[in-house]
Symmetry: C2
Subunit: 194 residues, 2 copies
DNA sequence: GTCTATAATTCGATAGAC
DNA sequence: GTCTATCGAATTATAGAC
């Protein structure tokens, strides 16, 4: 390993440290509540380096909140249990191995930051609606997706952001069962009854 | 009307102007996004007066976000349609004559402001849970209220905060019908199946 | 590649004249 | 009762030494 490689490697690790600290700070306190100084302190480096590596706080936020929902392909043969499946997948995003991730960053900030809200709308339009359309047909897919998202986002708000005690202590299986059933109804409602 | 009365009256009107401007600013931009200077500019007065009348920005926020859900009494004789009734009532809070009110202030700020989140939890505990308990019995009332709130808050987030296009353009009757049915199921589920 | 020092704003809050 | 002037702290971002 040459000196050049060593430097490059250290540079990459510094950038990574900043990125991880930023995602955690943004997730915990939102865009406004997380300062560049705080992020730098968490990462153990100087605040100036944050700007040097990412250009601006906005650019860092954009990168920290960029993510794919990664909805697994839901074909029509699993129709009957798609609701439960979607809720389980949603819980995995929040509570799985890489929790505290970009989704928390986005939702927490979106309420008072227009850029974050716009990105959330984009995720909805490009990832949620097509996924619902693939499952229940294109007709009424926007309304179905809207109703489903209304429930899912509220679940995330209640459980992870506001931390309403009864929702926090609810076991995952209970959430999957009940919310899954509600989602299933939204998927099964005939288009002409929407 | 004496000089004293006139002064008092003007004082009251100034305070009112500050309060209205504050509620609108907080509702539109959240706690952090609304500065005392902005609020004063909207009210057409000097920033120092905001502090003079309310003591601090925190105190002003507390007053602007204080509200009662004012859930109408739901007795058990309207059981079958309670879900739709609750959703209609919820829509009225947001879209009725005094929209842009304290609820918007609270929800928008709660995502990144712990004080606002705490107040929202208090509203949930002291107003939502008892109302659900009166309707469906005390057994499992917390879980029922949690599931119902998960849907309602998500609806508010989608329609009023994030403004997801399909949810924004959804006619109220459609929301009442579909979300009302989901709420109804949460109310009707037997306690031993929760 | 990293840090010190600081510029340029913006914030909430205060003191005191009128 | 209202405003002018300003303080002290915090913010993002930059310039330049090492």
């Amino acid at each position: 390993m040459t000196d050049n490689d060593a430097r490059k490697s250290k540079s990459r690790r510094t950038r990574e440290a900043i990125f991880i600290a930023a995602r955690r700070r943004f997730a915990a306190h939102g865009y406004d509540g997380a300062s560049v100084r705080d992020i730098a302190a968490d990462a153990g480096i100087d605040p100036a380096l944050v700007i040097r590596y990412f250009g601006s706080k906005d650019a860092l936020f954009a990168e920290a909140s960029d993510f794919k929902l990664d909805l697994p392909p839901l074909d029509s043969k699993m129709r009957g249990r798609a609701g439960e499946y979607m809720v389980q997948n949603f819980l995995d995003i929040w509570e799985g191995p890489d929790a505290g991730g970009a989704f928390t960053v986005l939702l927490r900030s979106a309420a008072s930051n227009e850029a974050a809200a716009a990105k959330l709308r984009e995720v909805f339009a490009t990832q949620v609606i097509p996924s619902v359309a693939a499952l229940a047909g294109t007709e009424g897919a926007q309304q179905r997706a809207g109703l489903i998202t209304s429930h899912m986002l509220g679940l995330a708000m209640s459980r992870y952001i506001l931390k309403l005690p009864p929702v926090v202590s609810m076991p995952p299986e209970m959430i999957v069962t009940h919310v899954g059933r509600a989602i299933q109804i939204y998927l099964d409602t005939p288009s002409d009854r929407l």
